[in-house]
């Protein structure tokens, strides 16, 4: 018995497939939308219970269109209960990639505002921030924990935030970074 009937994944289909394999009981059916600009009508029919916005993991994804797609699903989602966005720890600031920092920080701010707006209706909105090195499966530079951050770590946190029992956790940004964000003044 799956936790949710219908989930929607915005973002890279390859990562979606890995997450679905790791969490086979999270949702019965997944609607995977690689390009948020091309949001199909079936995604905004109000049936989505779990929305995972991982579009920012694709460098090419347009920020404005992604946020608009999330807003549209949230606004029309009568069944919606959990929203989990996935970004990278670039949201805290990253040398040499202002654009990535801006895109990820924008999603964090948007999630917190959505969490406040939706709190009374029981919809939780949280963000997972993966170490930027997750793309290469390398140990993040200077990581206190000498280990890489991977898709299994994403799946583990997604399972927690998506759990119906996690109803009192909302608006949070969880850095999964092997400890690399601890020296950032914005990481608490």
């Amino acid at each position: 018995m799956a936790t949710w009937s219908t989930a929607c994944w915005l973002g890279p289909p390859g990562i979606a497939e890995q997450v679905r394999t790791l969490l086979p009981d999270l949702a019965e059916t997944w609607q995977v939308v690689a390009d948020p600009v091309l949001l199909p009508e079936r995604v905004v029919d109000g049936s989505v219970e779990l929305l995972v916005d991982a579009a920012m993991l694709d460098h090419r994804a347009p920020l404005e269109a992604t946020v608009a797609a999330v807003d549209r699903i949230v606004a029309t989602g009568g069944a919606l209960r959990r929203v989990v966005s996935v970004v990278t720890t670039a949201w805290l600031g990253v040398d040499g990639d202002e654009r990535e920092a801006m895109r990820c920080a924008a999603v964090v701010g948007h999630s917190r505002a959505q969490a406040l707006r939706r709190a009374a209706s029981g919809v939780t909105v949280n963000t997972i921030a993966l170490a930027t090195a997750f793309r290469t499966a390398e140990i993040p530079a200077g990581a206190p924990l000498a280990r890489a951050v991977g898709i299994a770590d994403l799946a583990n946190a997604l399972e927690f935030f998506a759990d119906p029992e996690s109803h009192y956790v909302t608006g949070q940004t969880l850095n999964i970074c092997a400890g690399t964000t601890v020296l950032s003044s914005m990481s608490v």
């Binding site: 406040l116 709190a119 009374a120 206190p144 924990l145 280990r147 583990n156 956790v169 970074c177």
Partner: protein, 259 residues
């Protein structure tokens, strides 16, 4: 066949676990396979939590120890090792809350007492379990903080102690990460506990409506966040503060903060 539980074979120490949030944490960790060392200042509440765990088929031992004192921590860890072996999970939950106490009404002795119970206890217990965790190359330490660390009128002592919890968590995370030990904190807001029930009705109502969803959390809401961070699968998360606050910590205006 019963599936292997994620904390099977592990030993968890939960301080202040006789009631409220600590009891919920101990119960949930036992449900995922850990053998529980249930600490409380008094024996009777600790024994009740331990009895509930064993009644559900888990393993638990009750220990009455004052974790704000060196001798109490020593006694607790000695009892833990005697019962089950070296702890692999430590949840520093013991604490005492304070509200609505203007700074002029807090004397130095009382301030130090609040720091001892809420913060020094966390340091002492972490220091006691770390050698074995470091030697084993594995460990999970979860400190219970509070959104009060952000600052709140009438909570200068309690807020300072919980701010110390955040700093302690981050420093330890950096210090022991290389040994496979993660150190994180969970920050609840107003949670319905026996202590909460003693508050004046007006204070309770102010607290409740200060939450975006206008509802209190329950001890299990905090316990679930602790269970998540205690999992072997959460090994890439360290030095983090996870709020279980119903969105109470999100607003960015002082008007909302002091309501």
């Amino acid at each position: 066949m019963t599936p292997v539980q994620p904390l099977q074979g592990q030993v968890a120490v939960v301080t202040g676990a006789g009631r409220g949030i600590g009891a919920a944490i101990a119960t949930l960790l036992a449900q995922v396979g850990a053998a529980l060392v249930v600490d409380d200042l008094q024996h009777e509440p600790a024994a009740q939590t331990a009895a509930q765990i064993t009644a559900e088929g888990g393993r638990a031992v009750a220990v009455a120890a004052d974790v704000a004192a060196d001798a109490g921590v020593e006694a607790l860890m000695h009892a833990a090792r005697d019962a089950f072996g070296d702890p692999t999970v430590l949840v520093n939950n013991a604490g005492v809350g304070r509200m609505d106490t203007p700074v002029a009404e807090i004397d130095g002795k009382e301030f130090r007492r609040i720091l001892d119970i809420n913060l020094t206890s966390q340091f002492l217990c972490a220091r006691a379990v770390l050698p074995a965790m470091v030697a084993a190359g594995y460990g999970r330490i979860i400190n219970i903080g509070s959104r009060a660390w952000l600052g709140f009128p009438g909570e200068s002592d309690y807020g300072a102690a919980k701010g110390g919890t955040v700093s302690l968590t981050r420093a330890l995370a950096l210090e022991v990460g290389r040994y496979g030990v993660t150190v994180n904190a969970v920050a609840p807001s107003a949670i319905i506990t026996p202590a909460m029930e003693n508050l004046p009705a007006a204070t309770r109502e102010r607290l409740r409506t200060g939450h975006p969803g206008s509802r209190f959390g329950e001890p299990l809401d905090v316990a679930r966040a602790v269970r998540f961070l205690a999992l072997p699968a959460s090994g890439a998360i360290t030095g983090q503060l996870l709020y279980a606050c119903g969105g109470r910590s999100l607003r960015g205006s002082s008007r909302a903060a002091t309501q």
